[in-house]
């Protein structure tokens, strides 16, 4: 089944169109179509993961046009990993949205959701720079739609910022692509990697400018300081289930940074080698700090989760920015963790907010609410995960990162920042938990339940996330081995290039 | 001969474009600006036609055709806005 590679893109697109067509039918039909689509996508992602696992790089030339001329989809370990992560998260978040009835709060939740998956999967799979742009736009505009889902004044105001900033980002993306095409004459990333290496000195500066502009755009998506400014407010105003899905959105920036830097501007790029990496380390260290510092005074759970997401993505970027195999492997282990942890915090925040409609997700003392015991456990686990404490996978991830950067000249800074911010996160999250669960338990009266009513079924998606994180811990051995293999594949881009362009072209 | 004629015609249309630009910027009324824009569109159509002759190529006529249609819609929309505020009601 060579054609399976296109399934993660085409399948959600068809599902989206179908749920659009059947929008007037019964309510459950839309949800059923969406869930079935997600389930199928999960299976596809698993199959692709299995295929990529042994290191083979599958290349799919769309339209049968040979590699640098047409668009190719490339499935390597990294993309398979990201696909799997996306599908899993999408499945869980969609379940949460359906159970809590979020999909009925506005129009077109299911088509937008599926279209977002189209964009995400496309971005992870494509081997063409401009195609990457297109899928970025698909996922962005779908995210705009989802972000505004349900609406409300603050969401609208934050939406304007989010959209305008990302639009400018897209503009910069195009400038970067344009310059790179103008200089190298190609759009295929593998081909570009070859051509960058052979550029004349006069062209290198331009290619460098293009490279850094691309980096900037990816950094914007990954919320790297100082380009993270849009994220807290956006995520804090988004419906929590949507924000949970958005946890993967920062990762798409990270993915692109990894992909483009390691493939195109990697060791083979002559004077431009690792150019994007040079600025990333200080920026990501600051991101970690600003993210976790912002978590401390946050007024709402979503705001706190958003800042936490910035911080933990920063931690991830710290490891990525070294562009060193061991650190990259550590980052790749941490990546699914931070995605799941961020999503979990948003979902738990939603559970809390739904149970005390008069207080919402504000971090204030409120009355007791239904399932407070279980939710407090969930919150504690989410907090532990986000802060990177044992026994959940964040701790292992942090250990891996700390261990991997030990030899780096900036190790001291990294350690100080990563560990120091962990403390801040612990303090901040403990304050929140104490306010929400301990103080609140004093209040005599029980909370007025949410208008739609709440069920304990709602807890299942969050529990699923926790189980996944536990699985990350228990299976850490094989998973880290796999991450190491992913990292090895990334740092040997010849394999990628040869898979795309044929044997013998690379060096 | 045609070459000279074309050159002169190009110059004429170009100057016409500039004159319309003047009216566009100077106004004074909004109607004037709309009129100037409309005239510029017409001049642009003329330019396209002349360019087509110049290059002996009929590739560009659709652009003229489209411009004729679209320029009209634009002008009307601007006027409708002045008249009613709402261009679709």
């Amino acid at each position: 089944m060579t054609h399976l590679i296109v399934a993660p893109i085409v399948l959600p697109a068809i599902i989206a169109a179908l749920s659009l067509l059947f929008r007037r039918r019964r309510r459950w039909l839309g949800a059923a179509i969406g869930l079935a689509g997600c389930g199928a996508l999960l299976l596809v992602a698993l199959a692709l993961f299995a295929r990529a696992y042994d290191g083979a790089i599958s290349v799919y030339a769309l339209g049968k046009w040979p590699a640098p001329f047409g668009i190719v989809l490339v499935l390597d370990r990294l993309s398979a990993l990201m696909l799997l992560l996306t599908s899993v998260l999408a499945m869980i978040v969609l379940c949460h949205a359906v159970i809590t009835g979020l999909d009925r709060k506005g129009w077109h939740f299911h088509p937008l959701f599926q279209f977002l998956l189209v964009g995400l999967d496309g971005a992870f799979l494509t081997g063409d720079l401009f195609n990457l742009f297109v899928f970025f736009e698909v996922l962005l505009i779908a995210s705009y739609g989802l972000m505004l889902h349900g609406q409300g004044a603050s969401r609208l105001k934050a939406g304007i910022q989010y959209i305008v900033i990302n639009l400018v980002g897209s503009t910069l993306f195009l400038i970067g692509i344009g310059v790179l095409y103008g200089v190298t004459g190609t759009l295929n990333m593998a081909d570009m990697a070859l051509r960058i290496a052979k550029l004349t000195p006069g062209d290198q500066g331009l290619a460098g400018a293009g490279a850094l502009l691309l980096t900037l755009v990816f950094a914007l998506k990954a919320a790297l300081l100082p380009l993270h400014l849009w994220l807290p407010r956006t995520y804090a105003s988004t419906a929590p289930a949507v924000a949970a899905l958005f946890a993967i959105m920062t990762k798409i920036g990270v993915y692109s940074l990894i992909r483009v830097t390691s493939l195109i501007f990697g060791a083979g790029a002559g004077t431009l080698a690792w150019l994007p990496a040079r600025w990333m380390l200080p920026a990501s260290l600051l991101t970690v700090m600003v993210g976790f510092i912002g978590l401390l005074p946050a007024r709402g759970l979503r705001e706190q989760a958003a800042f936490g997401l910035v911080g933990s993505t920063g931690t991830l970027l710290v490891a990525v920015s070294l562009f060193e195999p061991r650190a990259m492997a550590a980052a790749l282990y941490y990546l699914p963790h931070t995605t799941l942890a961020g999503a979990l915090l948003f979902l738990v925040g939603d559970l809390i907010a739904r149970r005390r409609p008069d207080y919402g997700d504000a971090i204030t003392v409120g009355p007791r609410f239904a399932n407070i015991e279980v939710i407090s456990v969930l919150y504690m686990l989410a907090a532990i995960a986000l802060a990177g404490m044992p026994p959940l996978s964040g701790f292992i991830g942090k250990l891996l990162i700390l261990d991997a950067v030990e030899a780096h000249p900036a190790a001291g800074w990294i350690w100080a920042m990563v560990l120091g911010t962990t403390l801040i996160a612990i303090i901040g999250l403990a304050r929140t938990g104490s306010t929400l669960f301990w103080k609140s338990s004093i209040c005599g009266e029980a909370a007025r339940p949410a208008p739609g009513g709440v069920t304990s079924k709602e807890l299942l998606p969050s529990i699923a996330l926790i189980i996944l994180m536990v699985a990350l811990v228990v299976g850490a051995g094989p998973i880290t081995v796999f991450c190491d293999m992913v990292s090895a594949q990334l740092f040997a881009p010849q394999g990628y290039v040869e898979a795309v362009l044929g044997k013998g072209v690379a060096r | 001969m045609i070459g000279y004629a074309l050159a002169i015609a190009f110059a004429c249309v170009a100057v016409a474009l500039l004159l319309a630009l003047f009216r566009l910027l100077a106004g004074p009324t909004r109607g004037d600006r709309i009129l100037a824009l409309d005239t510029m569109v017409i001049n642009a159509i003329a330019l396209i036609v002349l360019f087509g002759i110049h290059q002996t190529s009929s590739t560009y006529f659709e652009a003229a055709l489209l411009l004729a249609m679209v320029g009209f819609v634009g002008t009307v929309a601007y006027c409708k806005f002045l008249l009613r505020g709402d261009i679709v009601e």
């Binding site: 339209g63 739609g145 303090i427 | 929309a77």
Partner: protein, 949 residues
């Protein structure tokens, strides 16, 4: 394997107990107790092997890449510690059953307790320092839950958070320290690290690693200046205090010192850091203890002091001191746990813990008093109890230790500390149990049931027994443990009451004497103490946290000021910086491609564009006028595309332009048309400067690329294969629908999503605040009464079919000549939009036979199906096929699958554009105050005839 079982048992128990919230209290206690006993039995089963072989270990790979393995390592030190953890844990479980009130959720308590027990056991058993870290932090987390167990008490919540912050924070330092240590040693396995002490101490990273590890250890063991969390953790239920602060959590730091002793101890740095800290803590804790009145506070500060003692002993670095430390660790666990339980009984039965209110309880609670007196005697170091033995050893070690070049300093300070400890121990005994009753206690005191006094009685019995038969009871264990700590054969060990007349005996005597004297003169001393301006650690800590939060808030608000302008400004600045940095990194050489001459017409058009751009900026507050200028820019850009050989682009630009203008006009109707000026002149200058720099950058990049020769672009392939491979001569279109059809697929999805998002945005616009605002909306223009001018309506009626024809034509020729699905879709949309504009929304809407949602869906489906069609033939997605079809009579047709794809594009475009614009104009209707018109034309002569005015 049984080691793993042992280590997992408490966790399993925690889960078990956690899942039986509805069971009776006794059942829950029994379950917890059974778990703890089972673990204890499992542990003791291992004991002979440990004593015999020195260790028992088990190992399972976990994360080989990291060097983190699930390796368990039970030696005598671990055994000693584990016995304390499990043994005292069992007693605490029993005690708690009787101590906790019926309203306290017992199941939760036991779950937390077992969780904590598991974590502690993990520390004791961990054979890999990374594994140890995991349990280390777990103890912080589970103790957080235990301390905050009475969640409705503010001091419990604060105490829990403080403990978590301090111990968890120290744990973070420990992470760094242990990783460093492991990297120096080359392994994270404990035995590997312990074997490479010389290597470690020679490493340049040793001091840093040591400091970090000590930070972890000191915070956990409440050493000065991190000691303050411990007294506040007393807000926990007393069983918790008995467990956490006698045997377990606080001992973890000391345990770590002992555990890493072979690797770290013995250097000057170690000595100075550890011994000094221990000494200071011992003194300070003891002094503070003396003047506390809350029984639990007395015990807490005494714990601090005793921990200082332990720390100092391990800091001395001599094997004998280590032995003394281990012995005292055992003794302290016994008497301190007993004392906590004892204090709990007093609290439970009298209702108060204030030493100033109590007194003379000996007669009322004889059993409790006996236990309390014996345990405090052990704490005071009175013979013949265990405490005496270990204190003797401590004084002996102190007696020959030099600090800062002064021989008498350590002995003196140690004696003072011992004196103070005698004093506070006696105070506890005397002021509570002896003398006369000082006040009426809330409850009438009497001895508790056996469930409460049984556990401390066992502990006290242990303390007495060890004092009497030290070698028999503890000798083997201590010797084994000492061997494990030192990593070599321990010094000959003689635990006995009578050593002869040694300096330590003298010091001990002095301590007892002066201790009694201090107690006698307690009242004046207390007054003196109260007058000392001592900093209160809690206030400092609270101030610190408040300041941290406040600073964070300031920083966060200062950075995230919700101003789009700032966010964008930073983005633009970063982009400029990135571009510049990239250029600098690679260097720039001017290109040599010959430039094209600019014709006068081009210059005129250019001038028009520039003028219009400036006009837009000038007119930005006159929004309507600015729109007209924007149109000029669009016009010139389209002309430029035509001139520069891009007819497809020109067509697209022209048609997109008009739709955008319509959209903006529709929106502008409801937006303020002439807003106030917001930004000041300096701001505008700044933004202008940013704009100019950015513009120069973009212009320069464009110039630089345009003036250099293309680098063998891949489009040459597209050119040569367009007709032969793609079946069309318009290479741009073939690229769009064939070479890069996938891009186009994404592009129509973008358009479709945009329309859907717009639709769902506007669907709710008529509700809520927005709906009210629409209802109150007053047009800010004076409006003409005529809505549908006759000439316009008639013209559009004729234009609609014509424009649609043009649309079809542009669509069909797209493959070979400029045109294509997108432009066709736009043209058709414009044609229909013209109807909307001319004849009004309602009139047109009734006659329109489109379902835009379905169109978008179908468009995407058609495009996808075209792509998938190729799969049926075993070709990759979006592989196109084309052929010439000869039909009789009609002639030859070219059919390409790409055209079907283009149909999908066109359908989506029409659907998306119509959905967005129709919905937007529908919103404006809400604001309309006039009656809606059913007629297509306001002036219709035909109508006038029928109904003469």
């Amino acid at each position: 394997m049984s080691l793993f079982l042992l280590f997992l048992l408490p966790f399993l128990g925690a889960i078990l107990v956690g899942f039986m919230p509805h069971a009776s209290r006794t059942t829950q206690a029994a379950a917890a107790g059974a778990i703890a006993s089972a673990a204890l039995v499992l542990l003791l089963v291992q004991a002979p092997a440990v004593i015999a072989d020195g260790r028992v270990s088990a190992r399972m790979d976990w994360i080989p890449i990291l060097g983190l393995s699930a390796s368990l390592y039970l030696d005598a030190l671990g055994l000693l510690f584990a016995v304390l953890i499990l043994g005292i844990g069992l007693l605490v479980i029993i005690y708690a059953r009787f101590y906790l009130k019926a309203s306290d959720p017992m199941g939760r308590f036991y779950a937390f307790l077992l969780l904590f027990q598991g974590a502690m056991l993990g520390i004791a058993l961990a054979g890999n320092v990374l594994l140890l870290l995991i349990f280390w932090e777990l103890t912080s987390l589970s103790s957080f839950l235990l301390i905050g167990f009475w969640r409705d008490r503010a001091e419990a919540r604060q105490g829990a958070r403080m403990a978590l912050a301090v111990t968890g924070g120290g744990g973070l330092a420990l992470i760094a320290g242990l990783i460093l240590l492991g990297r120096i040693a080359g392994t994270y396995e404990l035995d590997g690290i312990l074997r490479s002490g010389a290597l470690i101490q020679a490493s340049p990273h040793y001091p840093l690693a040591l400091v970090l590890i000590l930070l972890g250890s000191f915070t956990k063991s409440a050493q000065f200046p991190f000691h303050f969390w411990l007294p506040h953790a007393m807000a926990a239920p007393t069983p918790v205090s008995a467990y956490l602060h006698s045997a377990t959590m606080v001992k973890a730091g000391v345990f770590l010192l002992a555990r890493l002793w072979p690797a770290l101890a013995g250097t000057d740095l170690w000595f100075h850091l550890v011994a000094t800290t221990g000494l200071v803590t011992m003194l300070l804790g003891a002094a503070t203890t003396l003047f506390k009145h809350d029984l639990k506070a007395i015990l807490a500060y005494s714990t601090v002091s005793q921990l200082g003692l332990l720390t100092m002993l391990f800091g001395l670095g001599t094997p004998m001191a280590a032995v003394a430390g281990l012995f005292h660790l055992l003794n302290h666990a016994l008497f301190k746990a007993a004392l906590f339980m004892n204090a709990g009984i007093v609290d439970h039965e009298t209702g108060t813990r204030d030493a100033r209110l109590l007194g003379g309880l000996a007669t009322l609670m004889p059993i409790t008093a006996t236990l309390g007196l014996l345990a405090s005697a052990s704490m005071a170091g009175l013979p013949p109890l265990g405490g005496f033995l270990s204190k003797e050893m401590m004084l002996e070690e102190a007696a020959h230790t030099r600090l800062a070049g002064i021989d008498w300093l350590v002995p003196l300070l140690a004696t003072i500390a011992a004196t103070l400890s005698v004093a506070y121990s006696l105070r506890y005994a005397v002021h509570v149990y002896l003398g006369r009753r000082r006040a009426q206690t809330p409850l009438a005191p009497h001895d508790p049931p056996v469930g409460l006094w049984g556990p401390p009685a066992l502990l006290v019995a242990g303390a007495v027994a060890i004092g009497l038969f030290p070698m028999a009871l503890a000798g083997g264990l201590i010797r084994g443990a000492a061997g494990a700590v030192i990593g070599a054969a321990p010094p000959p060990l003689a635990l006995k009451l009578w050593h002869g007349f040694t300096p330590s005996l003298g010091m001990s005597g002095i301590a007892i004497l002066f201790g009694a004297l201090i107690l006698a003169g307690y009242a004046p001393l207390l007054r003196l103490w109260d007058r000392l301006p001592l900093p209160v650690a809690k206030t400092l800590f609270d101030h610190g946290v408040t300041a941290l939060v406040e600073t964070s808030r300031r920083i966060t608000l200062a950075i995230h000021n919700a101003s789009l302008q700032r966010y964008l400004g930073i983005l633009f600045l970063s982009a400029i910086a990135a571009g510049t940095a990239g250029l600098m990194a690679g260097g720039y050489v001017p290109g040599e491609r010959p430039t094209l001459p600019a014709s006068p017409v081009a210059i005129v058009a250019w001038a028009a564009l520039i003028a219009a751009t400036f006009a837009v900026i000038r007119a930005q507050r006159h929004r309507y006028v600015a729109l007209i200028f924007i149109s000029v820019i669009g016009l010139v850009v389209s002309l430029g595309f035509i001139y520069l050989s891009a007819p497809d682009l020109a067509l697209t630009q022209i048609s997109v332009e008009i739709v955008t203008i319509l959209l903006l006009l529709l929106a502008l109707n409801l937006l303020p048309k002439r807003p106030l000026r917001l930004s000041s002149t300096p701001l505008r200058l700044r933004d202008g400067a940013l704009g100019v720099i950015g513009g120069c950058g973009a212009g320069f990049l464009a110039w630089a690329v345009m003036t250099r020769a293309p680098n063998d672009p891949i489009s040459a392939y597209h050119w040569t294969n367009s007709y032969s491979g793609g079946g069309g001569t318009n290479v741009v279109n073939v690229t769009l629908v064939d070479f890069r059809a996938f891009d186009t697929f994404g592009e129509i999805i973008v358009l479709g999503i945009a329309a859907l998002a717009i639709f769902s945005l506007l669907q709710t616009a008529t509700r809520g605040a927005s709906g009210r605002r629409l209802l109150q909306w007053i047009p800010d223009l004076v409006r003409s009464p005529e809505r549908h001018p006759m000439m316009f309506v008639v013209a559009t009626r004729l234009l609609l079919p014509l424009a649609m024809l043009v649309g079809v034509y542009i669509f069909l020729r797209g493959h070979n000549l400029p045109g294509g699905g997108f432009i066709a879709g736009l043209v058709i949309s414009i044609a229909i939009l013209m109807q909307y504009m001319a004849s009004g929304f309602d009139w047109t809407d009734q006659r329109r036979q489109l379902d835009e949602h379905a169109m978008i869906a179908c468009g995407v489906l058609v495009a996808a199906a075209t792509g998938l069609g190729a799969l049926l033939f075993g070709r990759p997605l979006f592989t196109s096929a084309f052929g010439h079809l000869d039909l009789p009579v009609i002639g030859s047709f070219e059919l390409a699958s790409a055209m079907a794809f283009d149909v999908g594009v066109a359908v989506t475009v029409v659907g998306a554009v119509m959905l967005a614009l129709a919905e937007l104009s529908h919103i404006a209707q809400r604001a309309e105050k006039d009656a809606r018109s059913e007629h297509a034309m306001d002036v219709d002569p035909a109508r006038q005839q029928e109904t003469p005015a």
